[in-house]
Amino acid sequence: MVSMDPSIWIAAFFTIAATSYAFRDNVVFKFAEYTFIGVAAGHQIVMGIKNIRDYGWTKIMEGQIIYVLVFVLGIMLYARFHREYYWMYRFPIAFLVGNGVGISIRAAIHSDFIVQVAQTASTPLIGGGAMGTINAIITFVGAVTAIFHFIFTQENLHEGTLGYIPKIGRWLMLLAFGASFGNTIMSRFGMYQGRIIFLLRDWLQLV
């Protein structure tokens, strides 16, 4: 017995339409593509209006006048469409960029630099049995040589005998990428299996 739920039929149609691209570009895929883009645009507009209402207008109505600033900055973004007042558009962009960078910079220094160095520096190269020692040495060599690979302004570090160090780093990174690639492919297969199970169980009700 096939499902009688219209939402299941719609989901099944778009699953098949999207998958049909695997064979070649066709009118069914085009329909799914344009529908997806259209729906996404509509959803974005609705969410945008909702955000303006929830995080701006409601606050002003509650007496928090500072939120007028949000509207002023938002309206200034549209100044880019005006030939004369084009420059005003730069202020909200500068605010957005400065805000984003300010929030992320401390975390970047802490998590991307200090924590990483502390982890590498605190791992003894010998200990934990033979496998532990091999693991520690591979991790240490991988970390140091990979960082070496990403030095761009000291050309002498990439020449002669020293040039082998970044090459080792590159090969170790490629090994890691291979493992990551395999892992992700497996998870994508899992997602696709989910769609196949949906078609067979929820739509066609065969399993």
Partner: protein, 260 residues
């Protein structure tokens, strides 16, 4: 409340040192004292655009769907620098550039950069912004399906993807590979690099995209920050080696100092 919080003293010092290092490095960059080494993938970009001209088919340049306000802003800036470079090459050599956009705050900057590049080459009248830099969607997979559809119909000869990418990276790399486009891919998003490494003809790994962006832009500020980062990387190597050796003999002083 204490002014200096335990566990945040070293990050504060590191931050101050970053400011100083970047300031010094930018000044050195302005004086032309810093040179960024050439990256293999960069030479390939010219080859990609040249191939598009020879085959009479478009070249795609995708900068990802990062914004200026997220933590991937630097990758977006690198992608924009490359877009400017590709636009200049396309205008000079006569290739049709297509650069679909996903983010409303990045799009005007991308348009200005492409317009500027065409203007420098005296080919501004050949640029059609609506056709060449279309806004598709700010939603990840709607944007991805739009690009996949465009790629299938336009069959570009080349594709350059440099910037922040998420799960759509494999879809793009696979699609463009399937239609026979020559590809240069690069991102600093660790989980997406393997897809570019596996499917692109040339791959820029991680921070290579920043160096590439700085290299093609010639901007002393960007080149200076690359140099400052290099100094930090050398410090990281030194601290890691000394710390690991000391840790092996039971002295864990480096990690303890860094945790303050």
């Amino acid at each position: 409340m204490a002014i200096l919080t335990p566990g945040r003293i070293v990050p504060l010092l590191a931050l101050i040192l970053v400011w100083v290092a970047v300031y010094i490095a930018i000044n050195m960059g302005k004086e032309g004292k810093i040179k960024v080494r050439r990256i293999a993938g960069l030479d390939a970009i010219e080859e990609v655009v040249g191939r598009s001209v020879e085959m009479g088919r478009p070249v795609f340049d995708i900068i990802g769907m990062g914004t200026f306000t997220d933590s991937y802003a630097t990758q977006t800036v690198a992608g924009l620098s490359i877009l400017n470079y590709v636009a200049g090459l396309s205008a000079r050599l006569g290739a049709e550039l297509i650069a679909p956009q996903a983010k409303v705050d990045v799009m005007p900057v991308a348009i200005e950069l492409v317009r500027d590049a065409y203007n420098v080459e005296g080919k501004l009248d050949e640029l059609n912004v609506d056709e060449q830099l279309p806004y598709l969607s700010g939603t990840q997979f709607a944007w991805a399906s739009g690009i996949i559809g465009m790629a299938a119909r336009r069959r570009p000869a080349g594709n350059i993807m440099i910037g922040p990418f998420w799960a759509e990276s494999m879809m793009f790399a696979e699609t463009f590979d399937r239609i026979g486009a020559m590809q240069v891919g690069g991102t600093a998003r660790t989980y997406q690099i393997p897809f570019f490494a596996a499917l692109c003809d040339y791959c820029l790994i991680g921070e290579e995209i920043f160096a590439a962006g700085a290299y093609v832009s010639g901007d002393p500020a960007q080149i200076g920050t690359i140099a400052a980062q290099d100094w930090y990387k050398l410090a990281a190597i030194a601290l890691s080696i000394v710390g690991a050796l000391l840790s092996t003999v039971g002295v864990n002083i480096i990690a303890e100092l860094l945790s303050r």
